[in-house]
Structure formats: structure tokens, C-alpha cells
């Protein structure tokens, strides 16, 4: 039996369904290249905005070992698109399949970043409407369906490059937000970003994170991510490709997301370790083993399997 790990996400095809999630190992062209060479299907940059930002004060990332998770409040530290362009250009020269994650404080900033980078042959732009670690005029953009619709629609008019929308799990009704994004013309839905969270040190009676509040990623959020992808697939079926993110620590977790409805997955926390290359290898081995055992010839046959 012929077996291929390649997967189609809308018009894009990547060599396997494993994508580096934004913000983990994605600050420089060099880590992105490294992770692609490690065997991932594609890589996503750290979210890039209009201006240079130092992010939030430290502590801004630490592990919660007992629940195999991480809390972070990096807060979109980035050099701004003009400077980061240099890193992207190196990636393009290297033919690294790269998705650029972009964010803005408002519609204008999103537009500025997109305009500034849209000539580059990147695989897609992932719109980060969902970072819980900054205050942009109060709530996050990703909780407001109107705003989501408007931003996607305007960006859509400006580029043919696929637009992915990354959803936050911190909403009452993800279908409402997702529908707004789809209506605006996005190509792919990505779920989920981190869960709003916080950790307090009881000895000093202080929040540990410099920003006080943060976002939870890692194994703790996997059952939540699976639920979001399942709900989205239940609603949209195969009308729009889905990408699952959250708590992938094993090949089995990737399969779980695919069965729930994802065409690909993004992996963050579990690659933020000393030997990410080994992790990628284990993931790949496990996916192959599963496909062989269950006689799947392609990833698309697994996608949404639990709904059938």
C-alpha cells in the first residue's frame, strides 16, 4: 500500500501534517530553518506586528511540570515587520515552507503588516486574533465577531496568499467567531491559542509572571483543543480546512486532532525542549505506524474520522 504523509490545507500541500506553532522556536530564521530541517511539514514565525515590541517583563515563560504544561506572557515581543523581513527573506531563500503569523492592535496595523510582507512567497499568513497576553483596547480582537469579519475581509482584498485565522478558546461561542472569519474570506481555521491562566506564589504572595496573567499551553489544554476542533468540524464539515493546536506531546495526540477534524496540526510546547529533533522523529514514526496499522493511505482519510 502506498502511504503518504503529505496533507492539503486548502490550496497548500505540505510534506506532513506537523507545523511549528507560532511563538515557540520561531523568533529567528535560524530556529525556524532548524525545525523545518528536523522534519516538520512547515513552520510558523513568532507573531509579527507593525512596531518593535519588547513584550512583557520576566518571568514570562515557565513550566508547570505536574500538568506537563507551560504558562507564558511573552506578550508579542517582536522586532516589527520591517526588521523581521530580513529573517523571512532568508527563509524564502532556503525554500522553507513558512507561515508568517501577524498581529495588530487594530485593523490598520494588521493591514500595514500585511502590505509590508505580502510580496514574499510565504505559504500563508496566520492572523493572530487571540493572544491573551496584551491589552488591545480592552478585550482581544478574537472575541468580537464584527471586528474579525472586517479585518479578514479587508486583508482578503489585499492578497491572494492564504489567510489563516487562529482562534482563541477564551470565548463563549467559537462558532460565531469562526463563522465571521469564514464570511470575511479566510482560508483556514486554526484552534486553539492558549487558555487564560495565572499562577501565584503563596510564599511571597505575588503573581509569578511579570505581566501577572498569562496563557496556558501544553498537555493540560489538549482535551480543550480537541473539543474546539471537533465542534468546528461538526459545524463546518469539510467546507474549510482546520488546523488543531494545543497540548500535542505524542504522535497519538496528532492522530486525535486529525480524527477530530484537523487537516494538520501545530505543535508548540512539546518542541520547546532540549531535543526537539527527537520529538519530531517520534511523532513521525508514530503517525506512520498508525497509518499502517489502520491502513490509511493518506492524512485526508484520517481527517474527521470520528465524525463518520
Amino acid at each position: 500500500m502506498v502511504m503518504s504523509l503529505a496533507t492539503k490545507i486548502g490550496n497548500i500541500t505540505i510534506r506532513n501534517p506537523m507545523i511549528l506553532a507560532s511563538g515557540v522556536l520561531g523568533t529567528t530564521y535560524s530556529t525556524l530553518n532548524r525545525m523545518y530541517e528536523a522534519g516538520l511539514g512547515a513552520v510558523i514565525t513568532k507573531s509579527i506586528g507593525a512596531k518593535s515590541r519588547s513584550g512583557n517583563p520576566n518571568p514570562s515563560v515557565f513550566a508547570l511540570n505536574e500538568i506537563r504544561s507551560v504558562i507564558n506572557s511573552v506578550g508579542l515581543a517582536n522586532p516589527g515587520y520591517q526588521i523581521f523581513r530580513e529573517d523571512i527573506e532568508i527563509l524564502m531563500k532556503n525554500s522553507t515552507p513558512t507561515i508568517v503569523s501577524i498581529f495588530g492592535e487594530n485593523k490598520e496595523e494588521f493591514k500595514e503588516v500585511l502590505e509590508g510582507l505580502k510580496d514574499l512567497p510565504v505559504l500563508a499568513f496566520e492572523l493572530n486574533f487571540s493572544c491573551p497576553n496584551t491589552e488591545m483596547g480592552g478585550a482581544q480582537i478574537g472575541t468580537d465577531p464584527d471586528l474579525v469579519y472586517k479585518i479578514v475581509k479587508e486583508l482578503r482584498a489585499k492578497t491572494k496568499t492564504p489567510l489563516w485565522v487562529k482562534l482563541t478558546p477564551n470565548v463563549s461561542d467559537v462558532i460565531e467567531i469562526a463563522s465571521a472569519a469564514v464570511k470575511g474570506g479566510c482560508d483556514t481555521l486554526v484552534a486553539i491559542n492558549t487558555l487564560k491562566a495565572m499562577v501565584i506564589d503563596i510564599h511571597t504572595k505575588q503573581p509569578i509572571l511579570g505581566y501577572k496573567k498569562g496563557g496556558l499551553s501544553g498537555a493540560a489544554i489538549k482535551p480543550v483543543g480537541i473539543r474546539y476542533v471537533y465542534d468546528l468540524y461538526e459545524h463546518f464539515g469539510d467546507k474549510i480546512p482546520l488546523i488543531g493546536v494545543g497540548g500535542i506531546f505524542r504522535g497519538e495526540d496528532i492522530i486525535e486532532y486529525l480524527l477530530a477534524g484537523a487537516s494538520a496540526v501545530e505543535i508548540g510546547t512539546s518542541l520547546g525542549v532540549a531535543y526537539p529533533e527527537n520529538m519530531v522523529r517520534f511523532f513521525q514514526m508514530k503517525i506512520k505506524k498508525y497509518m499502517k496499522e489502520h491502513q490509511f493511505g493518506s492524512i485526508s482519510e484520517i481527517t474527521g474520522g470520528v465524525h463518520r
Partner: protein, 283 residues
């Protein structure tokens, strides 16, 4: 004290049990942890949380059971906040992180550093003394002036007792010879016949100079340098703030100690580093 060891986890709170002025604007601290700290090796580091203020990487200067020694040089608000801490105060520790120095057998051990780079070299000195022929341990330290030489008394005493050979120098000649520590290092390398390993920790510019110098000598069989002059957030490999080009190695997990072979591949070594924004900055 529980039987737990220090894991990659949220900060574990330790209490400062000793504080002393080590040298100009530099304090030493002993911090007692509620857990056993096993297997910390020279060159590894911890993330130090000064509650409500800042968190940053700090090298391990010493370790006995659950008592950790660090040396902290004033650089900005974060290190200043630590300098204000007193015996009895709590600070948070995450770690142990990073790859250590890996000294081979039967070589001259040439430790060279300056500033807070001396902290991992202190633990390395101790470790080498307990394992190897003492005659082969040379410590080269440089500073602006005598009052800025870290661990001066401790190193001088070891030298006097014949346990190490201590080469000190200052910019102003207030202690040792006047000039850079590379002067003595070069002299030593010209004279020695034995294979030598250089261990360096300090400002990256200085390390680059040492690296270029060391490459000229065939008897320098390895150089191991601590790239500790870079920005870090997580300390365990997640954020890539500390990554170097073009390899994508992260200093926190793939380093901070890199050997000659690896240093050759790091094109930004001594050239530029990344700021907290990810922007490059010339060194």
C-alpha cells in the same frame, strides 16, 4: 527538605542564608532551597526570580546539598533588585538548565574570564581541583581595577597553596599586570608543550578575542565558552529568544557552553546578538 530534586517547573522559593560583597557592585549569595539539588555541573545555570521585579539567568558558582551559591554583578534594575535582598528574604529558582563544561583528562586547564563570567569558572575550578592534577589548573582573570576582580581572595589563596596558578590583570594596573588576560594566556600557550583546553566566560567580545587567539595554537585541543551574554526568557528551549545564527541553537539548552567545533558554526559569535524584541544588535 523533601526528596524532590529541582525540576523544570515554576520557581521554587529559596531563602537567602548568606550575603556578602564579593567585589565592586557584585554580591555573593547563598540560597537554601527546600529541595535537594543534584548533579549541578560547572557551566549550568538557573533562572533567578526576584519576586515582583525580574527573572534572569544566573550561573551556578557553588552547590552543596540544598545550598546554592551565586554571584551577581549589577547590570540594571533586575540585578540591583537582587542586591537589595537580605538574609532571610525569599527568591525563586528554576533549573537546573543548560549543558555544562566537559573537561577532558590529561590536559592543561586554562580558565579565563572576567566579570560575572567568573561564577561558572569558580565551580569549574573546584570541580577540577577535586578530580585532576592541580598543577595543570590555570585561572586567568581580568578586570578594570583590583576592586572588580571577582573571587580574588579565594583564587589568591588557592594559588598560594599551590592548588592552581592564578594569573590576574587589571586595566589600571591596580592588581596583577596591567592589560588584558589574553596577554598572559598567549604567553602561557607559547611556552607549554602539553595539550591545553581553554574554558572562557565573560563578555562576548573578550571571548571572541580568546577564540581567535586559541585557534592559532595547535596545542589548544578544545575551547569551551559560555555564551552567557545573551537575552533569555524561558531558559529551557521554548521561546528561542536566545537562539544563535545560522544553526538555530538555543544557548539555554544547546549551550550555554559551546566547544570549538560548535563555535566555528555560530556565525554571529562576537558579531551580533538578539535583543528581547528579536532585533539584532552589533556586539
Amino acid at each position: 527538605m523533601t526528596n524532590q530534586t529541582l525540576l523544570n517547573d515554576k520557581p521554587i522559593m529559596g531563602v537567602i542564608v548568606e550575603k556578602w560583597e564579593e567585589c565592586f557592585e557584585t554580591y555573593g549569595f547563598k540560597i537554601e532551597l527546600p529541595v535537594k539539588v543534584q548533579n549541578a555541573k560547572p557551566g549550568q545555570f538557573i533562572m533567578l526570580w526576584v519576586p515582583g521585579e525580574d527573572e534572569y539567568p544566573i550561573g551556578i558558582a557553588g552547590l552543596k546539598d540544598s545550598i546554592l551559591e551565586v554571584g551577581i554583578a549589577k547590570m540594571g534594575p533586575g540585578t540591583e533588585a537582587m542586591h537589595k535582598k537580605e538574609v532571610g528574604d525569599l527568591v525563586g529558582i528554576r533549573g537546573i538548565y543548560g549543558k555544562p563544561f566537559t573537561p577532558p583528562e590529561d590536559v592543561n586547564h586554562l580558565l579565563i574570564g572576567g566579570g560575572f563570567g567568573m561564577t561558572p569558572l569558580k565551580l569549574l575550578t573546584e570541580t577540577l581541583m577535586s578530580n585532576e592534577n592541580k598543577q595543570n589548573i590555570h585561572v586567568f582573570e581580568g578586570a578594570r581595577s583590583k576592586d572588580r576582580l571577582m573571587y580574588l581572595e579565594w583564587l589568591r589563596d588557592l594559588h598560594d597553596r599551590g592548588k592552581i596558578i592564578f594569573h590576574a590583570c587589571t586595566d589600571d594596573g591596580s592588581y596583577g599586570y596591567q592589560g588584558f588576560p589574553t596577554v598572559d594566556l598567549e604567553m602561557f600557550l607559547q611556552e607549554t608543550e602539553t595539550p591545553s583546553v581553554i574554558y572562557a566566560a565573560g563578555p562576548e567580545k573578550m571571548m571572541k578575542a580568546i577564540f581567535d587567539l586559541g585557534k592559532k595554537f595547535a596545542n589548544v585541543v578544545d575551547m569551551q565558552m559560555s555564551l552567557a551574554d545573551r537575552y533569555m526568557r524561558c531558559g529551557f528551549g521554548a521561546c528561542s529568544s536566545c537562539a544563535v545564527d545560522p544553526t538555530g541553537w538555543r544557548i539555554c539548552v544547546d549551550g550555554p557552553i559551546f566547544n570549538t567545533e560548535k563555535l566555528e558554526k555560530i556565525s554571529d559569535f562576537g558579531v551580533y546578538k538578539r535583543l528581547e524584541t528579536g532585533e539584532k544588535k552589533r556586539i
